[in-house]
């Protein structure tokens, strides 16, 4: 009985020893790589923050309106942003390299998928950022135009423009990532169709009188006086 237990114990010890001799060196290497990547990422971030002036980038972010879009009440600085991106890229690269050290089917798959997905993620992120910027820009354009043209509910119109553009950006980003692309596309078609139907119904039924009143109000203004008063501004 004791002998059997001893054998079982030795077998377990042997397996553990095998496991340790198989996986400990790669684990140590992986940990070292992560540590090196972490140090490198921190070093690069530190260097970038201190060595690069970034005034031009800050100006670009401010002038383009990206700084207010990225939050921080428009006080987002370019260099910390780039340094942060470099930090995370190096760290992710280090992690992937560390995972790859184990050389198993699973880890190879993880690394392969990540390498394949990372550029797509970056592109999708850029698409979302551009979409958000365009949404803000055209939302403001719609707001000012609707307000100056005395249209009803300019803020709602601007919000609608923003929502449509953000939604389009999300659909395109999902397409790039091949992530539930059909679902997003179908949702977009339903949304666009819904908006068209709602507007048609609103004009045809509920808001008919309001639209009529609005149009009549416009029509009732004597055009001659409008044009005349326009000239008189200069």
């Amino acid at each position: 009985m004791i002998r059997t237990l001893e054998e079982v114990f030795q077998r377990a010890l042997g397996r553990l020893s095998d496991q340790i001799t198989t996986y400990l060196p790669p684990l140590l290497v992986a940990l070292t790589m992560v540590l090196v990547a972490l140090l490198l990422a921190k070093g690069v971030r530190w260097l970038l923050v201190r060595a690069v002036n970034g005034a031009r980038l800050d100006r670009f972010l401010k002038d383009s309106g990206l700084s207010s879009l990225l939050g921080g009440a428009g006080r987002v600085r370019g260099v910390p942003l780039v340094a942060g991106a470099a930090y995370w890229l190096i760290l992710i690269a280090g992690l992937l390299a560390a995972v790859d050290v184990f050389d198993t089917k699973l880890t190879s798959q993880i690394v392969e998928t990540s390498v394949f997905l990372l550029p797509k993620l970056l592109i999708a992120g850029a698409i979302l950022l551009v979409g958000a910027w365009l949404a803000q820009y055209f939302g403001r354009s719609a707001l000012v135009w609707a307000s100056n043209e005395d249209l009803p509910a300019p803020r709602r119109l601007a919000a609608l423009v923003r929502a449509v553009l953000v939604f389009v950006a999300v659909v395109v980003a999902a397409e790039v990532l091949s992530f539930a692309a059909n679902v997003f596309f179908a949702a977009f078609v339903i949304f666009a169709g819904g908006v068209a139907l709602t507007v048609s119904l609103a004009l045809g039924l509920g808001a008919r009188e309001a639209v009529e009143r609005h149009l009549r109000g416009k029509a009732e203004r004597p055009p001659e006086k409008e044009e005349r008063s326009l000239w008189n501004h200069l």
Binding site: G65, L143, S147, D150, L234
Partner: protein, 444 residues
Amino acid sequence: MGQTPLPTEALNALSAVREADIVIGIPSYNNAATIGHVVRAAHAGLAKYFPQFTGAIINSDGGSKDATRKLVLSSQIQDTHLLMLSTPLKPVHRLSCPYHGIPGKGSAFRLVFQMASLMKAKACAVVDSDLRSITPEWIDLLIRPVLLGGFDFVAPYYHRHKYDGTITNSIVYPLTRALYGRRLRQPIGGDFGVSNAMFSRYLARDDWETDVARYGIDIWMTTIAVAEGFRVCQSFLGAKLHDAKDPGSDLSAMLQQVVGSVFTLMQEYQSTWMAQAGSQDVDLFGFRYDVGLDPIEVNLERMLGAFRRACDDLREIWAIALRPQTLAAVLNLSKAAMSGSGFRLEDDLWVRLIYEFACTYKQKPVERSHLLRSLTPLYLARVASFVIETKHLFAAEVEERIEKLCRCFEELKPYLTDLWLGKGAEDPRPGLQQGPQAIVEVKS
């Protein structure tokens, strides 16, 4: 030279008329109702006052679909009725050519200046094609200071109704005067006389394809003349009465083009206007007299209504341009706008507002279009305030009121300079129109 090739019709016309001492340019677009009168006045002016010079009247047309161009070439004057002291020794040629490029007054002027340059003209005058009050004397008053007085730029000086020219009175005149120190009363009057040196300078520039091509042309011409040290003067032309027809434009776009041109030129001539303090009078030629003016109807309720609605809708955009104190003061006016007759947008608030818009225009190029278009309801509020304030005033008193605004623009110029240079200017009137409601919530 920022040249574009001349249209074939212009080249053909130039081959017929090789040289001219004086060129009168008339931009047009569907002005058949009035252009005949303008051409006759220009022709008579050249024949009567400059008989010893060769003259050319150039109509630069934007593709009129009526008989505008035909009328330019066919309208007749009877020399015997002009009571001329001498018989014209040189001919007056008439040309009508379509201009190419961006449709607008600026593009039309460009063609006129190009042709004047090729004709080696000594002086050139440009007059609007919808004028009803132009007389032959206008040509004399716009050309003589250039030909005989050595001036490079002659700006018009008109008598106008107190509610006429409100962009001029509330923004362009006071701002240009405060910036460049010259009191040119009608900087965007539209009728100018310029020397060869002046229009050559205009042609040498490369910004013709901007707002300059449209309504920005007048302030662009004036600012370059003043800021670059050309000799400028004014000529009294009497009343300005014109046909009220301006298809396809709206106030917002007009304001954007005019004010945008002023702000753009502020960047180019930064060193000039920063070195300038105060302002001086400019020579005024012509015999001044009082004239009767067409009444102008204004719709106060519509202007104040536009402002009230914008206070709700556009505060997000205004918050980009205005400092928190200024924005709070503007939004506090929203309630006052309900009362109508009690509404006031005070001078110093208006000046701060314009200066802050100018600085943000420089700092945020992407937002320029939004900023300038969002200025429209603020401008309407200022006009409404001006109308209420001057309701019972006579012309001279109104002029004094405009003078007061100009002085305010000049006094607050250090505020503009500090803001422009990003020095974080102190509020020139701390606590102005602010109360417990001064904290503004900006909805996005």
